[in-house]
Amino acid sequence: MSQLAHALESQPSLQQQAVILCRQQDLVPFSGVAARFAEYAIALFYLPGETVELYGLSHIDPVTKAPVMAHGLLGETKGEFYVAAPLHKQQYRLSDGQCLSDSALTLQVFKVQLLDGQVYLLPPTEY
């Protein structure tokens, strides 16, 4: 169970703060879709069957500022998953948003969780 899932179950106050972003069936397995929350555009990457099945990262490419990250290809190296930016192919680690080829680049990480067929987000303002 992820930290967020645990937090959601153990802290009723958080459960109230978490919002439903979309349905699980909106996700595309082993690929990404984009969702909006307030002013944020969030790329949701779905890896069914993996330890962590869902990742939420900024949909905005830090280099071009274009909203495209959800459309990048997912890759794996030495057991770690990353997304390759579609325009210039930089790789960003899904777990923390760190760019693997340029330490100055990161993607904002969002706390997301699959629960009962829904995708939950803990809004960034609550962190």
């Binding site: 972003l21 996700l27 690929s31 900024s58 290809l73 803990l122």
Partner: protein, 849 residues
């Protein structure tokens, strides 16, 4: 007192060679006992005479200076500027200047040379000048004031440099040469002739075969040259550049041995007839030979510096006088025995007056060794040829391939044949030896070589050669050069293709679980997706394949820099009805798409958002269009001219053939994009020879050209087969494409693929035409399967609600307004604004639960 053991080393002359001597001397280990004093005749420290005319282009003498003013003090070298040595007393071991007398233990003469001014009556006029020093340039500049025309007497290397200097002064420049051609020392007749044409085109008038008998006052201009043939030429100033003479008068007065026509005689240690006096550079005569280039002078400087400090391992053993330079912007190269004076020498020539290129090889009588070469117009051949000549490398069986235009695809020197001295990267002057040394020091791959030697990081032109050298050397060192696709598959693309076909695998998951490991990456996923499509041609967006596709394939459109997409409908052969054209216009207008005609004779519509793509395509498909696969590694377009239908020159119906080909191969996925063209006659208006597959009409049918491309490294296609009928043409292209799909590397275009095939074009002919592998029936059958399974991918998407849902920008929100992507008007259309103004937060925060 330490002075008792200090020895005096005096250097006369602070030119380029004299300066190089100082630096080489300071680099030696045994220098502590020496006190170094340098006498310069000029009032400035050493400067770069090779780039003297730069002084006129930027007027900055300081930039020519070889070292900073502080260099001498920092290295405890005494520099006596403007203090020429007047005499040497060998018995007393002293030199005398106008200011003082100095003792020496050892003396180095680096006095250089002076310009030869022919004994022509009137040559002492104040507007008769020479071109060697900065003072000379200042005199030329002064004389140019109020002048219109300048003449250089002498059409050699320096004369042409001087002509360039006059041109830079804004003068109308003339070159007068006594010999029948320019640069008679370095070039042969044809080379000289071509150089003359090219220089004339640059506005320099060239007069060859002209002997100047006198110089008198001019009527229209300051001076008049009177030639021995009775003709005259008026000018405002004259620069003599009729050769150089060694500056040996000091040596002569001191009784040192000189050559019959001047020059201080030296031995292999650069010592003159007095062992305590050395001579280096243009003043020195070695085995009857003077060296008027800077490189041999530097070699002498290195030798003298070593010998003086007790290192007798160094000796001067002559120098290669090959030269490569740009004169007035024209490439000129001369290597070794350029005139073919070696007994029995034979020559091979390539002369192209259209392109203004000339190349000659001088070969030994048996055709196996390169003795010399002449290049005019394109020096890119120089490095390779110099390696052959200097290192005595055996020539290939067809040495003419070395000077034919490189688009003929013949390899230059292969990685194994290159000597260690071969320069691979001319931008950063990296030799093969330096690459090998880096590998020996533990660098393990191409990326490491690039970062440690800088090779291939300049213009990048040597990247392919560098890669082959590194791979060759790594293999030679027993390091396995991996052809693995990526960390998930220990197979090359060709091997994976084979596995997919033999095992009948239909999905990535089947392949990776059976033959790979891990979860895949952005390298192997699209490569496998392409292989699967090439084998079975299932829709690329079918469920098992959708997560494998590159972004452009995922959305069947081309992502542009601001995150919007471009749309390219197929227009087979570039033929389109007015009604279809109007419907494209209507769609573009409705969605405000930036519209541009492509190089492939179709129309690209830019700026569509993801959500708009299905709407746009519904309209295009309703109007009768299909997807153009501009996003795929697949057939792009078949370009055509109007052919015999309209053109008075056309001999076949090129448009019909182009449409036939485009419809036949559309949607076929390949290792890389494929472009084709069909021309209706030999005039080749469709530019078929720049395509992967080019078809050119003949009276009797079609000529087939293969493996060309444009782009970063253009390559002309090779003629593959001639006078084919329609059926032969199609079956050859079927086989060729399938063989390419079967055997090429990932992202390897046909040109590179063929170059890497053992046996190249001839082998390909054997396989495709003569069926040497017995594969042709299978290749044709596979192509038939792909053709039969074709469907318009956009039609498929529009018919499937699940696939269509992929085109929603957000799963939980309305489509973004197009204005969110930031557009600005330009020339009546919308283009991306420079600053993206997206209505979402882009700030990045460090967060943790």
């Amino acid at each position: 007192m330490t002075t008792s053991i200090t020895k005096q080393l005096l250097v006369i002359g602070n030119g380029m060679v004299g300066q190089h001597f100082i630096e080489q001397f300071l680099n030696q280990t045994e220098t502590a006992q020496w006190q170094l004093t340098v006498f310069a005749g000029e009032d400035r420290p050493a400067y770069d005479r090779v780039h003297l005319s730069d002084y006129f282009s930027d007027g900055n003498a300081a930039k020519l200076q070889l070292v900073a003013d502080s260099f001498y003090a920092e290295n405890k070298v005494t520099l006596k500027l403007d203090e020429p040595v007047l005499a040497i007393d060998r018995a007393a071991k002293t030199v005398t200047t106008a200011k003082a007398r100095y003792c020496y233990d050892k003396l180095v003469l680096a006095t250089g040379s002076y310009p030869f001014v022919p004994p022509i009556a009137g040559n002492d006029n104040q507007h008769c000048l020479v071109y060697r020093t900065i003072a000379d340039l200042e005199a030329i500049r002064a004389s140019s004031k109020g002048a219109r025309t300048g003449v250089v007497i002498g059409g050699g290397l320096l004369g042409l440099e001087a002509a360039n200097a006059l041109k830079l002064q804004g003068l109308e420049a003339h070159v007068v040469e006594f010999a029948p051609q320019l640069m008679p020392v370095q070039l042969d007749k044809d080379g000289g002739e071509l150089l003359r044409c090219k220089i004339a085109q640059l506005g320099v008038s060239v007069h060859t075969d002209k002997a100047t008998s006198s110089i008198s006052a001019g009527s229209e201009q300051r001076l008049q040259l009177n030639f021995s043939d009775g003709t005259v030429l008026q000018t405002d100033l004259i620069v003599f550049s009729a050769g150089i003479r060694p500056q040996d008068s000091l040596a002569k007065d001191a009784g040192l041995e000189l050559g019959p026509r001047g020059g201080i005689v030296i031995n292999n240690q650069c010592q003159s007839s007095d062992a305590d006096i050395y001579a280096i550079g243009e003043c020195a005569l070695w085995q009857g030979q003077l060296f008027g280039l800077v490189a041999p002078g530097y070699q002498m400087a290195r030798t003298a510096a070593a010998v003086l400090t007790g290192d007798n391992s160094q000796s001067f053993s002559g120098a290669d006088m090959s030269t490569k330079l740009k004169l007035l912007g024209v490439d000129v190269g001369s290597i070794g025995d350029a005139h073919g004076r070696t007994p029995g020498a034979i020559s091979l020539r390539y002369r192209n007056d259209l392109l203004g290129e000339y190349r000659k090889l001088v070969l030994s009588a048996d055709g196996k060794q390169l003795l010399g070469a002449v290049l005019v117009g394109d020096n890119s051949y120089y490095d390779s040829l110099l390696q052959y000549a200097l290192n005595g490398i055996a020539l290939p069986a067809d040495p003419h391939s070395l000077i034919l235009p490189q688009s003929s695809g013949k390899p230059l020197l292969g990685p194994a044949a290159l000597p260690a001295t071969a320069t691979l990267c001319s931008c950063h002057n990296v030799s093969k030896g330096a690459i090998c040394a880096a590998l020996d020091n533990g660098v393990q791959d191409l990326a490491g070589i690039k970062s440690c030697t800088k090779a291939a990081t300049g213009c990048g032109g040597c990247a392919a050669l560098l890669k082959s050298v590194v791979e060759h050397e790594l293999t030679a060192r027993g390091v396995a050069v991996s052809s693995d696709l990526c960390e998930h598959f220990s197979y090359s693309r060709q091997q994976l293709y084979h596995l997919v076909r033999v095992d009948g695998l239909k999905t990535f998951n089947e392949l990776i679980s059976r033959h790979g490991r891990g979860h895949g990456c952005e390298i192997c996923k699209p490569a496998v997706a392409s292989i699967l499509a090439s084998c079975w041609n299932e829709p690329v967006l079918a469920k098992p394949h959708v997560a494998l596709q590159d972004t452009n394939d995922t959305f069947l459109a081309n992502m542009q820099k601001n995150g919007t997409y471009s749309v390219v409908p197929r227009i087979p052969g570039g033929e389109i009805t007015p009604a279809m054209l109007i419907s494209i216009g209507q769609v573009a207008e409705q969605y405000q798409l930036y519209t541009k005609i492509t190089g492939g004779q179709r129309i690209d519509l830019f700026g569509a958002t993801l959500d708009q793509l299905p709407l746009i395509w519904q309209q295009l498909i309703d109007a009768g269009f299909e997807t153009g696969h501009a996003y795929g590694k697949s057939l792009r377009t078949v370009k055509s001219c109007v052919g015999s239908t309209w053109c008075r020159y056309g001999v076949q119906d090129s448009v019909s053939m182009a449409i036939l080909l485009e419809n036949r191969y559309k949607g076929v996925r390949a290792p890389h994009k494929i472009k084709m063209a069909v021309s209706g006659c030999t005039r080749e208006c469709a530019e078929a020879q720049s395509k992967d597959v080019g078809v050119i009409a003949t009276e009797n049918g079609w000529n087939l050209y293969v493996c060309g491309n444009g782009g970063m490294k253009p390559r002309h296609a090779d003629l593959f087969a001639t006078d084919l009928n329609d059926q032969q043409l199609l079956s050859y292209i079927d086989r060729l494409l399938m063989f390419y799909i079967k055997t090429a590397d990932r992202l390897q275009r046909t040109a590179t693929w063929m170059n890497n095939l053992e046996g190249g074009l001839d082998y390909l002919r054997e396989v495709i035409i003569n069926d040497s592998l017995g594969l042709c029936a299978e290749l044709e059958a596979q192509m038939q399967l792909l053709i039969a399974n074709y469907q318009c991918e956009w039609q498929t998407v529009l018919n499937d609600p699940v696939q269509r849902a992929r085109f929603n920008s957000y799963v939980n929100a309305a489509a973004p307004a197009r204005s969110d992507f930031g557009f600005v008007p330009e020339r009546g259309q919308l283009i991306p604004s420079r600053q993206l103004n997206i209505n979402v937060s882009i700030e990045s925060k460090e967060t943790s639960l």
